[in-house]
């Protein structure tokens, strides 16, 4: 850098930028260890109570009523987490398969209305969540479907397929079609070419799309809020409900755990990507 003042400005801007993004997260992490149960803005010493509470381990010295309340909310929390994981896993699997297949079909075959097809694939992503949520709710109700995990999975698939599609499509655009021709030239049928050449080449894109779908599914509140039944609360919906009843310190602990999980998933993604590039 030839210009020290410019360099300083650039560094300061970058620092500010990252502070702006990460400060709220750090605040939450900090407060999750704050012992003050009433006002979490006031630091009252370090504690792991809220984490213990989440897992029903909080020392049971309190009165029977509050103890029962804790255990109940912990059970609900874990149930919500389990629901979220089930939904995210199913949704990821389904939308990854459909999104990938569609991306391949659109990239490798010419047919009429291809453009329209592509537009229709991308539309759900552009659609406001609230519209999608209401639409799905009315749709399920008019079909007479009970709101359940199944309706959440169907609902998530409608827009997550778009995300997988767009990620895989970007990857496929960078793959030389001559590779598939070379495979065919060497005697590989379309199926073998797909399995041995195209899919391995696409793998980073597919994985990226799947991770994205998983994370978005775990995170979705608005759409899920409309189509989750009473027995099928997901984690975001549960947390949202908790906050409406007042911000409890446990929420900070939940948020911190979620941040930790997200960082792990992101690190996994980055690691997989760097491994691809190395070889």
């Amino acid at each position: 850098m030839r210009n020290p003042a410019g360099w300083l400005l650039l560094t300061a801007l970058s620092l500010l930028f990252f502070a702006f993004i990460y400060a709220p997260l750090l605040v939450i992490v900090g407060y999750s260890f704050n012992a003050n149960p009433v006002n979490m803005m006031v630091w009252d010493g370090f504690t792991l109570d809220w984490y213990r509470g989440l897992f029903g381990l909080r020392d049971r010295t309190g009165d029977a009523l509050s103890r029962a309340a804790y255990v109940e909310s912990t059970d609900q929390l874990l149930a919500a987490l389990r629901n979220s994981l089930i939904v995210a896993a199913c949704t990821t699997a389904i939308s990854t398969v459909i999104g990938t297949a569609t991306a391949i079909a659109l990239a490798r075959h010419r047919f009429r209305l291809r453009r329209l097809y592509e537009g229709l694939m991308l539309m759900p992503m552009m659609m406001p969540d609230i519209v999608l949520g209401i639409g799905l709710l009315i749709f399920f109700v008019s079909l007479g479907m009970q709101l359940s995990l199944l309706t959440i999975i169907i609902g998530h698939c409608t827009f997550l397929t778009s995300y997988v599609f767009i990620v895989v499509q970007a990857r496929i655009a960078g793959i030389d079609p001559a590779l598939e021709e070379a495979a065919a030239d060497l005697g590989a049928s379309e199926w073998v070419t797909l399995r041995k050449v195209l899919l391995p080449q696409l793998a980073p894109g597919i994985l990226g799309g799947a991770l994205l779908a998983f994370v978005i599914s775990m995170d979705d509140l608005v759409i899920t809020y409309f189509i989750a039944g009473t027995g099928s609360t997901t984690l975001p919906v549960f947390i949202f409900g908790m906050i409406r009843r007042g911000v409890k310190p446990e929420i900070n602990a939940i948020a911190t755990l979620i941040i930790l999980a997200s960082v792990l998933i992101a690190a996994l993604g980055l690691w997989l990507r760097s491994r691809r590039i190395d070889r």
Partner: protein
């Protein structure tokens, strides 16, 4: 058309059918602008077993399209392609007994070199041990023994090219198609690969159809050259025929450096024709049945000229002299006028400088008259 037929190998009578037989191949494409381009406009081509045939022509003349039609990636609008006498039209690419070395090599980046090379055998379900043996042998043959564990990204351009070659050859195709495989290589490597390819082709007994737009490459490697122009075959013949007896002005100008003179036949003396250009330059060439007064285009290669004693031949002044190792390339402007003449002479003690007066004599036997009427 007659010349095209004459250029083909007439071995049908001897009983041996050509390995590859293309008749009347046509293919046109719709362009985004709404028009149509004709990439193949009635191509006939025969390739014998173990023959090295080069498709030579300027960019866009249909060479790649023809190769893709043979390998099955492009369907013909009209015409037939026969391999071993069998029409291949109904066969998808993966069922055709033809392999290709792609211009971009198209190596599989996610596989090791060894797995790339063994791909054709893997697809056929050849057992592992046998495959490994064949791969080692193939890598050995292209001088890449010990490179099997690498990834294509870890190889140089020339090494990748050889992997592509080994991969295409491992299934022992009867016919190998090569689309400008050497165009990405530097000059030295390119010449080395030319020799290696030729040796390999000869040793394996495989027929090669080789695409290039480098005329020097075509001349040094081919058994036969097919000169293409705008979707048609302009001329077919041995490198010597193409170079020495081009049929058209296009072929004469495309293959090698050349001097063309528009001449009129003055008189016939035995088998020799005396010719004169409008500027008054006099030439002698094999008569080839021409009558006095006929117009003819004369082809003389730079090496067909030599420097004569003063007063003999064409008097001119050296405009430019380029020294190229043993040879000296001269551009000589005739005193009588007309376009400058390109001359190649051996470099010697009497090398003329720019501005020097020289007289050029030509080898009458090497002179060639174009068939086509201008």
């Amino acid at each position: 058309m007659t010349a095209q037929v004459r250029g083909l190998r007439q071995d049908g009578a001897a009983g041996m059918a050509a390995l590859l037989e293309i008749r009347g191949a046509r293919r046109s494409f719709a362009t985004p602008e709404g028009g149509r381009v004709t990439a193949l406009d009635g191509v006939d081509l025969d390739v014998g077993a173990n023959e090295f045939v080069t498709l030579l022509g300027p960019s866009g003349c249909g060479k790649t399209t023809l190769l893709r039609a043979i390998s099955g990636f492009e369907a013909l609008d009209a015409g037939t392609i026969r391999l071993d006498g069998q029409d291949v039209a109904p066969l998808p690419p993966f069922r055709r007994p033809v392999n290709t070395v792609f211009q971009s090599y198209a190596l599989f980046g996610h596989m090791s070199v060894a797995r790339n090379v063994g791909f054709a055998l893997e697809v056929r379900g050849v057992p592992r041990a046998e495959r490994d043996r064949a791969v080692a042998e193939a890598l050995e043959k292209v001088g890449l023994a010990g490179f099997g564990a690498r990834r294509p990204a870890q190889l140089s351009g020339g090494q990748r090219q050889r992997v592509a070659l080994a991969r295409a050859l491992i299934a022992r195709p009867r016919l190998l198609l090569l689309d400008e495989p050497l165009s990405a290589l530097d000059r030295g490597l390119r010449q080395q690969m030319q020799i290696e390819l030729k040796t390999l082709q000869h040793g394996l007994g495989i027929a090669f159809v080789f695409v290039t737009h480098d005329q020097e490459e075509a001349l040094t490697m081919s058994d036969r050259i097919v000169v293409m122009r705008a979707g048609r075959v302009e001329q077919t013949g041995t490198p010597r025929e193409i170079y020495r007896r081009p049929r058209t002005r296009f072929v004469a100008e495309f293959v090698g450096e050349t001097n063309l003179f528009e001449t009129v036949v003055e008189r016939i003396e035995g088998s020799q024709a005396r010719l004169r250009t409008p500027e008054g330059l006099a030439f002698t060439a094999p008569a080839r049945g021409l009558a006095p007064g006929a117009r003819a285009t004369l082809v003389l290669r730079p090496a067909d000229f030599s420097l004569g004693a003063a007063g003999a031949g064409i008097a001119g002044r050296v405009e430019r002299a380029v020294y190229l190792g043993q040879d000296l390339h001269l551009l000589v402007r005739p005193e009588a006028g007309g376009p400058a003449i390109r001359v190649t002479v051996r470099d010697g003690a009497a090398a003329p400088e720019p501005g020097a007066k020289v007289s050029l004599v030509h080898d009458a036997d090497a002179a060639h008259l174009l068939e086509e009427a201008e």
